[in-house]
């Protein structure tokens, strides 16, 4: 239940502004890939092109190919909704639906699409997803309470449960821990380690220690200056990136000489 992603020569534009230039990257199935780099270097923008979420912003478009197990996401006639149901996403700030209970938040992907599901199946799906997100024990007695009453870390894990409830092939995470305290961050990182047994995980992070802790491979993005496009500088095994990078810019960044 996981697929690989191959990106070929991808350019991302906002209107006429080239935000990310010429990225080619191969993301293995059932692995954790981290994107690191300074602010504004286009790593979040690039992540959002992997499930066509960037199209939500007016004027955003891409050139190039993104292949999910060989199928081009940007091929003619591809429905972005189908793409997003296969490639889930967790956002920087926890965003549970405020009008829904914890249980309904987990079932949102099913219910909002009006799919029929029996109560027994729904209960099983809720428990499986919440257990998968390490949240079951904390919320099992208050599933009917609103999701917005949880703590920030719990809300973020609820969002992860919501993402895995639709059983995607790939999970994209856009700085999932930047709004969380260290304990909640640890919980989410543990969760990422478990998720990679079943899913392909791509995570954007500002925290280099986090990239070193959770990822198998790391991609370093950089930007030459304001107004210039972001580029993929180096993509390798995480240990190589942090211990023996081939590019000077990568070494400068991971050793803390800038950024």
């Amino acid at each position: 239940m996981s697929k690989r992603i191959d990106v070929k020569d991808l350019n991302v534009y906002y209107g006429n502004f080239l935000a990310v230039e010429d990225v080619s990257i191969n993301i293995e199935a059932k692995s954790v890939t981290a994107f690191i780099g300074p602010s504004g270097c286009g790593k979040s923008t690039f992540l959002r092109t992997l499930n066509r979420m960037h199209e939500v912003l007016p004027g955003a478009r891409v050139e190039g190919e993104v292949l999910l197990d060989g199928d081009n996401l940007y091929g003619p006639g591809v429905d972005p909704v189908t793409v997003r149901s296969q490639i889930g996403m967790v956002f920087q700030r926890p965003n549970p639906f405020p009008t829904m209970s914890i249980r309904d938040n987990v079932l949102a992907g099913v219910k909002l699409n009006n799919q029929k599901i029996s109560k027994g199946e729904a209960d099983a799906l809720v428990e499986r997803s919440l257990r998968g997100a390490n949240l079951w024990n904390e919320v099992k007695d208050r599933l009917e309470k609103p999701g917005s009453g949880l703590s920030g870390g719990q809300q973020q894990r609820l969002c992860i449960a919501r993402a895995i409830a639709v059983e995607p092939q790939v999970i994209l995470m856009d700085e999932p821990c930047s709004a969380l305290d260290p304990i909640s961050t640890l919980a989410v990182e543990d969760l990422i380690n478990e998720l990679k047994d079943q899913y392909t995980v791509v995570i954007v992070t500002h925290n280099m220690q986090q990239a070193a802790r959770v990822s198998d491979k790391t991609a370093f993005f950089n930007i030459a200056g304001t107004g210039k496009p972001g580029k993929l500088i180096e993509f390798a095994e995480t240990s190589t990136i942090f211990n023996n990078p081939s590019q000077n810019a990568t070494e400068d960044y991971v050793s803390g000489r800038f950024g």
């Binding site: 499930n51 979420m53 939500v56 007016p58 909704v81 189908t82 997003r84 149901s85 296969q86 889930g88 996403m89 956002f91 700030r93 965003n95 549970p96 639906f97 405020p98 009008t99 949102a108 992907g109 219910k111 909002l112 699409n113 009006n114 208050r142 309470k145 609103p146 917005s148 009453g149 969002c159 919501r162 993402a163 639709v166």
Partner: protein
């Protein structure tokens, strides 16, 4: 480490002089007495007493405060006096209106049959008898109440879908395109349309489409919806705009289609604001008189068919009872009925406002733990 003994002082160095707690009451009492004395010299009246006392109170309190507490506190007191004064000035007309309508309206409202009968068959003869004291005041507002409720309901049924869908287009699909900008502009223009113009438009429209002289409750409802739609669009648009974009993105990322996202995430999140906005829009049009006069006419008998025949409503009922009393020689019974109808109208508007608050509370997203 040696502990230095705290020097004993009478007053903290961090405070200045303070007015005693009872100071405002003392100043108020003095101001009232002085005000009464001054007014007695030039001829007493309650309004002047209030104004003079208020000025004396503000001057006295600020002056005392400046002498004891310093200029910063005095300025604070002055600002407080101005704010409270402005609040009282704003409150006066409201209380005065409610008081006047209550005093004049309650006898009419308590009159038996006032809510349950129409003006059908009530002629000047009955009113003359009532004025002479040889008979009861007869007649009521049942027909007008039915008319107001039906016309307003129909106007709401027309306006809410049109207004809400327009707001959805503007917020979710408009993207600041020329069409969206044009709609926003014309909605703003519509907000400023005088209500009589809306009435004339609806009348002319139905004259052209259905036939000359078409005056029914439905025509009035169309006129009211011309006034109501811009209010609904504006309030719904504001409510939809404040739904965080993150919620839309969260739904998209789950593979939910845009229209489902709008229907099941955006609107439920904003529904409390939308519902109270709609209720306030209803309150805004329920008291309109001019557009109903030219579109529904005025009836004295019960008409339950909003699509056929002239129809009464509370505002036009009040208007005709005051302007053309049923008995021209004895207008008192008519004005009693008019005040009663006015009271009922105010009660309806208040109930709608309370309803809006209730709706907002019931639908608001809960944050229980």
């Amino acid at each position: 480490m040696t502990s230095t003994p705290t020097p004993v002082r009478k007053r903290s160095a961090l405070t200045k002089g303070q007015l005693p707690k009872y100071a405002p009451y003392v100043v108020l009492g003095v101001a009232l007495v002085l005000g009464a004395a001054i007014l007695a010299l030039i001829g007493f009246n309650a309004f002047g007493w209030g104004v003079v006392s208020a000025i004396l109170f503000a001057a006295g309190l600020v002056g005392w405060s400046a002498a004891v507490e310093g200029s910063r506190k005095a300025k604070d007191k002055l600002a407080t006096c101005l704010v409270v004064g402005a609040f009282l000035v704003a409150l006066l007309p409201l209380i005065s209106v409610i008081w006047t309508v209550m005093v004049n309206g309650i006898p009419g409202l308590l009159n038996p049959g006032f809510l349950g009968t129409s003006m059908n068959g009530v002629t000047g003869v009955f009113d003359n008898r009532a004025a002479e004291g040889t008979g009861p005041v007869v007649g009521g507002i049942y027909h007008a109440l039915i008319g107001t409720l039906q016309i307003t309901l129909l106007a709401t049924v027309i306006s809410v879908p049109v207004g809400l869908l327009t707001a959805i287009y503007l917020v979710e699909y408009g993207n600041d395109r020329p069409l969206a900008r044009a709609i926003t502009f014309f909605v703003d223009v519509m907000t400023g349309i005088p209500s009589i113009v809306a009435g004339l438009f609806a009348a002319a429209f139905f004259f052209a489409v259905v036939g000359p002289g078409t005056k029914t409750g439905a025509v009035a409802a169309v006129a009211l919806s011309v006034l109501m739609i811009p209010v609904v669009v504006r309030s719904s648009e504001e409510m939809l705009k404040i739904v965080p974009n993150e919620l839309r993105e969260a739904a998209y990322a789950l593979g939910v289609r845009k229209w489902r996202t709008i229907l099941k995430v955006v609107i439920p999140t904003a529904i409390s604001g939308i519902a109270s906005g709609v209720t306030l829009a209803i309150a805004r049009v329920i008291g309109e008189t001019a557009p109903i006069l030219v579109t529904a006419g005025f009836a004295t008998s019960i008409n339950n068919n909003v699509f056929g025949g002239w129809m009464a409503s509370l505002p036009t009922f009040i208007y005709t009872q005051i302007l053309n009393p049923t008995s021209p020689s004895n207008p008192d019974p008519s004005s009693q009925r008019a005040w009663g109808a006015a009271l009922v109208l105010i009660i309806l508007v208040m109930l709608l406002n309370l309803g809006a608050r209730l709706i907002a509370r019931v639908f608001a997203p809960k944050a229980g733990r």
